[in-house]
Symmetry: C2
Subunit: 197 residues, 2 copies
Amino acid sequence: MRSLPDQEAEVSRSVLDMSMSLDGYIADPDDFLGGEDGERLHKWASQASETTKAFEEEWKAAGAVVSGRRTAELMDHWGGSHGGLPIFVPSHRPPGPAARWGYPLVTYVNDGIESAMRQAKAAAGDRDVQVRGAYTGQRAIEAGVLDEVQLHVVPVLLGRGRRLFDVLSAETELETIRVIDTPEATHLRYRISTTAG
Amino acid sequence: MRSLPDQEAEVSRSVLDMSMSLDGYIADPDDFLGGEDGERLHKWASQASETTKAFEEEWKAAGAVVSGRRTAELMDHWGGSHGGLPIFVPSHRPPGPAARWGYPLVTYVNDGIESAMRQAKAAAGDRDVQVRGAYTGQRAIEAGVLDEVQLHVVPVLLGRGRRLFDVLSAETELETIRVIDTPEATHLRYRISTTAG
């Protein structure tokens, strides 16, 4: 098991972080993260372990979040900030009332994912940008602005639901940069090196 | 990186062994293993490395093979034996002429996967049974006679093809029993613990 590396200084990386069953599912058929299947996918993160703690530290060390609108609204914009971090939501439609008036750390960006990522990286400084939502991850890959993918592969076959790679389908070469294996999940981190499709 | 464990004595395990892209593809859309995508999936196995050598030793240490008919015929029954090992092919149709007359180590089994596995385990003694073909793996899981799955996950997104988990779809709990990470592939080995669906 490789340990979590120190955050490299002065390099902001955009990272899509997803829990996935071995057969590729990230959510229920209804695209909902709750329920029994969602619990099986995210159980690893709620367990007290050294690895879970290290990932929590890593998430907290991020400097900004880019979130898909659907995810952001489903999570009520995490109450207005993502653990104190600014949230950038690429969307062509104007934000709802709460995001518009109640959440100063939430910014809706209507000129594309590149712009949202540029603003998030500027806000993050030398810290990472966490990307939330598979669709937004896909747009970021297509636009060439996603640097890494962190998958928590849970050893279970769900047999139904929404698959990450029905969304993330670009022909892409990846580089494995970290593997952490625990009984609860195999944590695979990839750098996106080329996008062919 | 965990090393390959010694074969436990006197325990024959049935193992489905597959190379898979990170997005879950095991073959071309035509279900063919050749071509550019097939090459990207299987490149890791043709490279001279300590890990490749260890896997070759592991494959050679098997005692019998259970292969789907399609895979067996596509590979011309590996010339009549799988590196000297007997091959059991579950199929309700009678074998073709070559398998019937030319290959004494090839046995067609027409009374189901359980019977094919029973015969293969008897032939293998205390050695493993290698399972070839995703459909046959699925039938074996359903029948409760598949013990382990060995996946070689290649860090590439193919974006098209035939997916292992369009076939292997039973609701199943797995136990991660080994993770070996190399730049070419992450080798994940699972024990099948329960089958719910």
